[in-house]
Every structure is written in C-alpha cells, then in structure tokens.
C-alpha cells in the first residue's frame, strides 16, 4: 500500500490515498510531515527530484508492491519512478509500435525484447539503487527508476516541492537525488516530531541530453 501510496502521492496526490497513508503511520507512533523545496542555485524549481527519508536503526517491513511505467507517444511515463525494493513494475505499451526495454544498471539488468501491449512479465526490482531504462529501438526514450528501502519518499513537481506526510516521529536520514544531478547532495540526518518540517535544497543539474525524437511518419510509426 505504501508503495502504491508513494506512487499515488507522486502521481495522483488524491486525498483518499494520502489519508490512508496518514492513518497507517499516525496510528502507530504519531505522525510528522516533511516538505522539501528543491531549487537550482539560480533559483529555478527543480522537477523530478527524489526526496527519501530512511529511518535510522530500523528497517520497514518489506512489501510486495506493484508499479507501472507506460510507453506512450514513444516516451516512458513517468520519467522518474521511486519504488520500494521488491516492487514489480509493469511496462504496458500503448504505442502502435513495439518497444525493446532494457537496463544495464547494476541495480537491475533486464531486457524486454520487442513487444507490444502488456509486457509478458512484470519486472521485480529487488535491489536498491538507480536503474536507467532505455528502449533499444528508440534512442531518445529514457526513464529512471530509483529503488529504495523505505516507504517514505516523494518527488518534486514542477514547482520544485515535494511533501511526505505521516512520517512517524523518529530519526531519519534524508536523501536528495536527481537523475541529472551534477554533484551528489550529502545526506542529512534529522529527527522528526509531530510538526511539519520544511527543508530547502539546492541542486544543479546537467541538462537533459536531448536525443532528437523523429516525428511520426504518415502511418503513425
């Protein structure tokens, strides 16, 4: 659920899901909220930055969560996915052309040969780390999957803000990661009470490599 909630928070931010999360953790040990604002040194809001809270000294129980990375308009959607370790990700193909998804990232090396529609088997991401996805036949297609071992994470929206709610009070290591960060931002240790914390981050990015995407031809391919 948390996995799904993380997913939802990133994607849908629907009040029922957020509520469920809050209920799950606040009931156990009282709940705190964290808001992160990520900007570049020039002050521009940074989108798709991952904010991760890892509890120190304890490990949350593993989950068997599911996630989806679609291929639509010959793009991966979303660009950045943050999943808990052990999450199965499906790669449904909504395009009329086939895709050939691969990853050579050490955290998860896999390959789904040319396929259309739903992928045959979801891929289980059972190691933490960064996974870069590509499509062998569409060079410009790229997606990042950050596999974490904590239920508390969020990614910044276009406004550069991310919020994690229902975090039980305790000590945590706060990590910031971005697929194109120039320099890794040092982790921060912090203890969270019942209050809402707001953390500001500054991160500089390398520009996204623009591999030109050819327009569709007359047949829609």
């Amino acid at each position: 659920m948390a996995d799904r909630a993380g997913h939802q928070s990133r994607r849908l931010t629907s009040p029922p899901v957020l509520l469920a999360l809050l209920l799950a953790w606040a009931g156990a040990a009282g709940a705190a909220s964290l808001t992160a604002a990520v900007r570049t040194s020039a002050g521009a809001p940074v989108k798709d930055a991952a904010i991760i809270l890892e509890p120190t000294g304890r490990t949350p129980p593993p989950v068997r969560a599911r996630a989806t990375i679609e291929q639509r308009d010959r793009e991966f959607i979303p660009y950045l996915s943050i999943v808990r370790k052990g999450t199965s990700i499906e790669f449904p193909n909504h395009d009329p052309v086939k895709h050939h998804i691969y990853s050579f990232s050490p955290a998860k090396v896999f390959e789904i040969k040319l396929y259309a529609g739903k992928s045959v088997n979801p891929v289980v991401f059972d190691k933490t780390g960064e996974v870069v996805l590509g499509c062998n036949i569409h060079d410009w297609m790229a997606a990042h999957v950050l596999v974490v071992d904590t239920p508390w994470f969020a990614k910044t929206g276009a406004d550069g803000l991310a919020r994690i709610d229902g975090v039980p009070a305790g000590t945590y290591r706060l990590r910031l990661w971005h697929p194109r960060q120039k320099v890794a931002t040092p982790d921060r240790d912090l203890s969270l009470g019942a209050a809402v914390r707001r953390i500001e981050f500054t991160v500089d990015l390398t520009p996204r490599l623009i591999v030109p995407k050819p327009p569709l031809d007359a047949g829609g391919y």
């Binding site: 691969y102 990853s103 050579f104 050490p106 090396v109 870069v132 996805l133 590509g134 499509c135 062998n136 060079d139 410009w140 297609m141 790229a142 697929p179 490599l209 591999v211």
Partner: protein
C-alpha cells in the same frame, strides 16, 4: 656584308630574321608568362588542395564519429560494455573496433579513467591521456582530434559516448595516421600529404621514400599556411603546413611538375610549330626571293649581253607581275636597240640608194685584210651621168645607179667587196689578184656596162671608166689607193680608153685642189677675190646696157685664176655659199656706185644651183637693194639651165619671188642642158643667154646657126631678151645683129675688166658710139 650582297639573300635574311625575332620573342614571353602562370596556378591548386584537405579531414572526422556512434549504439556492444567484465569488454572493443578499422579502442569512465584499453601498454584505471578531447566530448557529446599515442604513433582519435540510454561511459577510437591514410588523402586532395610530428619524424606520407627523406632533411619550421616554394630531389614544389593536432603538422606539397608538364607540352608544341614555321619560312623566303631575284638576275645578264652588243638572245622572263613587265620592257628595248643599231650600222656602212656598202665600210674591209696580202682597188666612174641625170631627172638617175649597182654586184669575186663611193663612182676591193687578173676584171666590168639599161621602157646606154690601184705598190691605206685609182679613172675617162692602171698614170693632179678649200677661205678674208665686168652690148643701138660680173682670184702665188679653176670646186664643196653673198654685195655696191656716177648699166651676177635653192637668197636680195638704195631692175641674176633642173619646183618658186621683187632674171648657157620648152615657158625670166658653144661655131656650122636663129625667135616669141655670149669675131656679131639677137657679149666687144677699167672703157665707148 656578303650576307646582303644579293637581293635574294637580303630578302630571305630580312624575312627569316624578322620571323625568328618574333618567334623568339613570342617563345620568351610564353616561357616567362608560363612560369608566372605555373607558379600562380600551382599556388592556386595548392591553396584549393589545402582547403579541400581540411574539409576532407573534417568530413573524415565526422564520418569516423558517425561510424563510432553507430558502433556504440549497437545493443550487443553496449550490453557487453555494461557487463563490466574486462576481458569481455576488451574483446568486444577489439571486435567492434575492427569493424570500422580502429586500431586503438578504449573505454573511459565518465570521470575520465581508462577502464579498458586495447593497447597492451595500457594500464587500467589510469587517467585518460587526452583530457582536452574528453572535455570537448563532455561539452558537445563527442569529439575528435589527432594525438600521439603511447606507441609513439599518431592517431586520429574519436571520442563518443556509450548511451544506455544515458551516457554511461566514453569509447575512444584511434585510427592510425599512416602512409595508407596519407595516400588516400593525397588521392582525394591532389596534393602530396606528409604528416610530421614535432620531433621531425614523418609519421605518414604519400611521397616516395627518397622524396620523403629529402623532405625530412628540410627545415620546415618556418613553413606555415602561406605557400612557399621548395625543392625536393631537384623537383619544384609548392608547400604549406597546416596544424594537425597539438603534436603534428601536415605538410601539403604540390608538384610544379603537374602544372609544368602541361605547359612544357604546350611549349614543346610551340617550339615545334616555331621550328617548322621557321623552316617553312626559310624555304618559302628563299623560294620567293629566288622568284624575285632570279628573273632580276636573268634581266641583269640580259642587260650585260646587250651592253656587250649581243642582241641575239631574247630576254626570256615569263611572269605576269612587275618583273614580267620589266622583262617585257627589256625585251622591247633589246629589239629596239638591235633594230636601231642595225639601222645605224646600215646608215653608217651602207649606201642607202643602192644598198651596197659605202666608202667607210669599204675602207674598214680593206683595213681588215691581211696587210701583207696584195689587193686591188678599182674605181668605176660612169661616163656622162650628169647629163643623163639632168635630162631625165634625179629619180631616173637614182634608179640607173641602182641598176648599175646590181649589175656590178654580179661581177664581184668571192674575196672582194663592192661599194658605191659617191655620185656615179663605184669601187671594188679584191684580194690578192695579179695584174693580169685585174685587167681581165676591168674588161669584164666594161663589158657588163656595155649592155644598155632599160628603165621605164627607155633604153639607156651607160659606159664607164675604170682606174685600178694596187696594194702595196700604189699605196697602203684606202685614201691613197682610192686617190690613185680615181686619178687613173679620170685619166682613162680623158683618154677614153676604158681603164687605166694607177702605176701607168702617175701620182695625178697637183695637190693644189686639195688645198683650195682652205685657201679660198683665206682668199675671202684677204680680199683676194676680185670682180671683173664684161660689157653687154645692145646690138641694135650699139649701147652698153649692162655688164656681167665675173669673179677672179688674185692668187698670191698662182697669179690670176679664172672662175673655171675654182668655182666648180667651190660649188662641189659648198664654199660657194660664202662666195655668192660676198659677190652679190660687191655687185650691188658697184651698181650703186656707178649709178651715182650716171652709169646706168644693169649688172649681172651668176648664181649656182645651191645659191638658187638657198631659202635665204630672196631675203638677202631685198636687204642688198634696200641697203644700196638700188632699184631692183638694176640687178640681173643669171642662172644656168642645169642649176634650174636640180630642183625645178623649188627653183621656180624662188625665181617667182625674185621676179616679184623686180629683179631681172636670166637663163644662162641655154641650150647646153635639158630644160624643156614648157618649163622654160613657165619661168618668170626676162633674158635668155644662148650657150657660147653655139656662138663659137656659127660660121662653121649652119646647124648651129639655125639653132641660134630659132632660139632667138623662140626667145622673142616668149617675150624674152636674147643674149649671145662668146662673140669673138666681128662676123658673128654682125650675123647676130642681123639675126635679131638683142644683146651681145664677148671678147670681140671687150674682155672682162676690173671696175675702174670698165668705167674708163664705158667712157671711151660712149665717145665712139658705134663699133
């Protein structure tokens, strides 16, 4: 200069010389501008080649990058790289690198560490040696350049990322810069390509080994992008050096020979054309010059022949041009000169009347004979030719002479010559005959003349006398021989013996006649001529009505000479022209003098044929009359019948003029010549003097008396005064008076007297009225 001595050479040398000059000038200009063109062209080609080379390098770089990108995009390659297994990665590098000909391949981490290197020397994890290239790749996604690798070889290097799909590492590919590379670029750029590293080593070159080592020796540090000329192995090149990576330079050479070759070929062709042109021109010029000068030489030879007097050869130059016209002019000149010379020779050596050689020709012929050889000169004089001429006229006389010439020519022996000397005299010169032959020859000539000659149906008897002179006995030269022969001829004529030999006749008449001309001239100047007057008596009245002036020569040595001794000679020589004016002047002066003294006598003067035909005569008479204030009738001019007959028409016209002035005119010696009565009738004369030969024989010859009587009657019938001269006896005088003769003249009346004596005689005669 002997070179220019003939027109032919001059033309040819000038023509050929000018052409050679122009051609050499042209070749020089072509060569010089050619060099400039070659240099400029070579430089242009080099610059173009250098640009081309840079473009080729850039394109090659891009192609390598592209090829490398395609390679690194290969899924299997990426997958293998991603395995991180060194051996596998190295193996795949080798495998895929060989696909695009990369000699060196490396995988470099994003942070610049060499992960895998196909070079055996390569140590893993060492820093990538070409940081600049890597930084450039990080900047723009890929990069390329030239670099020396650890093996001291130069490589073209390409750095491309491995995308999975984000950049996970760099792949570095090295392509060796070696001779094959240089050759390929050499072919593509048209230049010789050599790559030289900073230490002077030639990494790659398209040059042959010898040239390569020559290039290596040269210090090329100064060479830059500005083209410069250099010499390799004796060949000319243009060169530029371009930077090629940080450690190397590319030297681009353009051989001038490429540009030169085409130009040398052009020059060679030009030289061949020029040579052939000059050769053709030499031949053509000489040909033309010969065609111009040849006919001129022919003309010059012809002119020399003509100069030497050889007119026999025609001037044979057939040409339609100016030279042809000149030749035609020469030819006309030749024939003209020849014809004129012939004519001159004919005139000089030929007697125009008979066509026989003349005296000059005969003289030359004699002179041309062997001086030692014997020869005869025979002169023939026709007898009684003058009377024939007078009687029948000159045309008949001329034709008679022609016929005689023809007849004599038939007698000419082979070794001899016949000539007409003058008048009625002919002469033969015959070689080496003896006297006997000469006599026979003379006889044959006389015999030939004995046959009458027929002219216009009229048979004329001709005879002649011959005089023969022998060489050397009678003289050596023509003048002497002719004179002797003539004397002999005259002697024969006198004796009427047919012919005479000079040796028999002797040396001939005194040389008195020969000197007479000179003496006469002196005589006139010294006033040795004097006039005597013979009275003319009117027989009816017994009064002296006139006198005839007769010239005498008071010769200082020979005494008083009668006119017969010198007047004929003066007439022959033409000296009469000088005597007559003097005589007329004297007579006019005397008449005027006497007239002043009351002596009214008409004075007569004799005129010769020459005088009568002299066109100045009438003017002279007018002047005399005016000068002496004489009435014209105070003077009378006596003209012999034969004088009238020389040119009857002209004589008549002059007589008419004289008559018109009012002068009295008298026919002298009437009856001795052949004047016709009809002619006589037409003459405007006043007096007729009967020839004294009739008077002298009046008593003895009844015939002559009859002639005189009838002549008197005739004269009267024509209204003329009749004069008888030569009256020597009283009987004749009486007879004549009885016969009605108007005037008498003669010794019986009075001899001719000097003017004073005449005046005295007149006075005395007047005192005794009748004789």
């Amino acid at each position: 200069m002997t070179l220019f001595r003939t027109l032919e050479r001059r033309i040819a040398v000038v023509f050929v010389g000018l052409l050679v000059f122009v051609v050499l000038l042209m070749l020089l200009i072509v060569a010089r501008s050619g060099e400039a063109i070659i240099l400029a062209e070579s430089q242009r080609q080099l610059e173009a080649g250098a640009r081309n080379f840079s473009n080729l390098i850039d394109r090659d770089q891009r192609q390598l990058e592209l090829a490398a990108s395609v390679l690194t995009g290969d899924f299997g390659f990426r997958e293998a790289i991603a395995t991180q297994d060194r051996a596998t990665v190295r193996s795949v590098l080798r495998n895929h690198g060989s696909r695009i000909g990369a000699r060196v391949m490396m995988v470099v981490s994003l942070d610049g560490k060499v992960i895998v290197d196909t070079q055996p020397l390569g140590e893993a994890a060492r820093a990538f040696p070409f940081g600049d290239l890597l930084r450039a790749a990080q900047q723009s996604g890929r990069s390329g350049g030239v670099a020396l690798m650890d093996d001291a070889l130069l490589y073209q290097i390409v750095i491309v990322p491995i995308m999975a799909p984000v950049r996970i590492a760099w792949v570095v590919m090295g392509f060796p810069v070696e001779d094959a590379w240089a050759l390929e670029f050499s072919r593509a750029s048209g230049l010789d390509v050599s790559v030289i590293t900073g230490d002077g080593a030639i990494q790659a070159s398209s040059l042959a080994p010898t040239l390569r080592s020559a290039l290596k020796i040269l210090q090329l540090t100064a060479l830059g992008e500005q083209p410069r000329q250099l010499v390799l192995e004796g060949r000319n090149y243009h060169a530029v050096a371009l930077p090629f990576g940080p450690q190397a330079r590319v030297v681009l050479l353009h051989s001038l020979e490429h540009s030169e070759a085409a130009f040398r070929e052009l020059e060679r062709i030009l030289e061949i054309i020029a040579g052939a042109g000059i050769a053709l021109f030499v031949v053509g010029s000489f040909g033309l010059a010969r065609r111009i000068a040849g006919p001129l030489n022919t003309l010059a030879r012809a002119a020399r022949r003509i100069e030497a007097g050889d007119y026999s050869q025609a001037v044979a130059v057939e040409a339609p041009d100016e030279i042809g016209q000149l030749a035609a002019g020469f030819e006309n000149m030749r024939t003209g000169i020849a014809a004129r010379e012939q004519k001159i020779i004919r005139l000089a050596y030929e007697d125009t009347l008979t066509g026989l050689p003349n005296r000059i020709r005969l003289t030359e012929y004699l002179a041309g004979l062997d001086p030692a050889a014997a020869a005869i000169v025979t002169v023939l004089g026709l007898d009684r030719f003058a009377p024939i001429n007078d009687a029948l006229g000159h045309p008949i006389g001329d034709r008679l002479l022609q016929q005689v010439g023809v007849r004599l020519a038939g007698l000419l022996p082979p070794r001899g010559m016949l000539a007409r000397l003058w008048g009625d005299e002919f002469a033969f010169v015959v070689e080496s005959p003896d006297q006997e032959w000469a006599r026979k020859f003379a006889a044959s000539v006389l015999a030939a003349l004995r046959e009458p000659i027929e002219l216009d149906g009229q048979r004329l008897d001709v005879s002649g006398s011959l005089g023969i002179a022998f060489r050397p006995a009678d003289g050596r030269d023509m003048d002497a021989l002719l004179r002797r022969a003539e004397l002999a001829m005259y002697s024969a004529k006198r004796r009427q013996c047919g012919y005479a030999l000079a040796g028999d006749v002797g040396d001939g008449p005194p040389p008195e006649q020969l000197s007479l001309i000179g003496e006469m001239r002196h005589a006139l100047e010294r006033r040795e001529f004097v006039l005597h007057y013979q009275p003319k008596l009117a027989l009816a009245s017994g009064r002296v009505v006139g006198a005839e002036a007769l010239v005498r020569w008071q010769h200082p040595e020979r005494g008083m000479m009668p006119p017969a001794r010198f007047i004929p000679f003066a007439e022959q020589t033409g000296f009469i022209r000088e005597i007559t004016p003097w005589l007329l002047e004297e007579v006019a002066a005397q008449a005027a003098a006497w007239r002043q003294r009351g002596m009214a006598v008409v004075l007569s003067a004799n005129l010769s044929a020459r005088d009568l035909l002299n066109p100045e005569l009438v003017g002279l008479m007018r002047k005399l009359l005016a000068a002496h204030e004489l009435p014209a009738a105070a003077l009378c001019l006596e003209i012999t019948e034969s004088a009238l007959m020389e040119d009857p028409a002209l004589a008549l016209s002059h007589l008419a003029e004289l008559a018109a002035i009012g002068l009295k005119l008298s026919i002298d010696d009437y009856g001795a010549g052949q004047a016709s009565l009809s002619y006589l009738k037409s003459l405007p004369v006043h007096e007729l003097k009967i020839d004294q030969s009739f008077i002298g024989s009046l008593a003895a010859s009844p015939k002559d008396a009859a002639i005189v009587r009838s002549t008197i009657a005739l004269g009267h019938a024509l209204g003329l005064t009749v004069v008888a001269e030569g009256i020597e006896v009283e009987a004749d005088l009486k007879w004549l008076a009885a016969a009605g003769c108007d005037i008498g003249q003669g010794y019986f009346i009075s001899r001719p007297m000097a003017a004073p004596a005449f005046a005295d005689w007149i006075s005395a005669h007047a005192a005794i009225p009748s004789i």
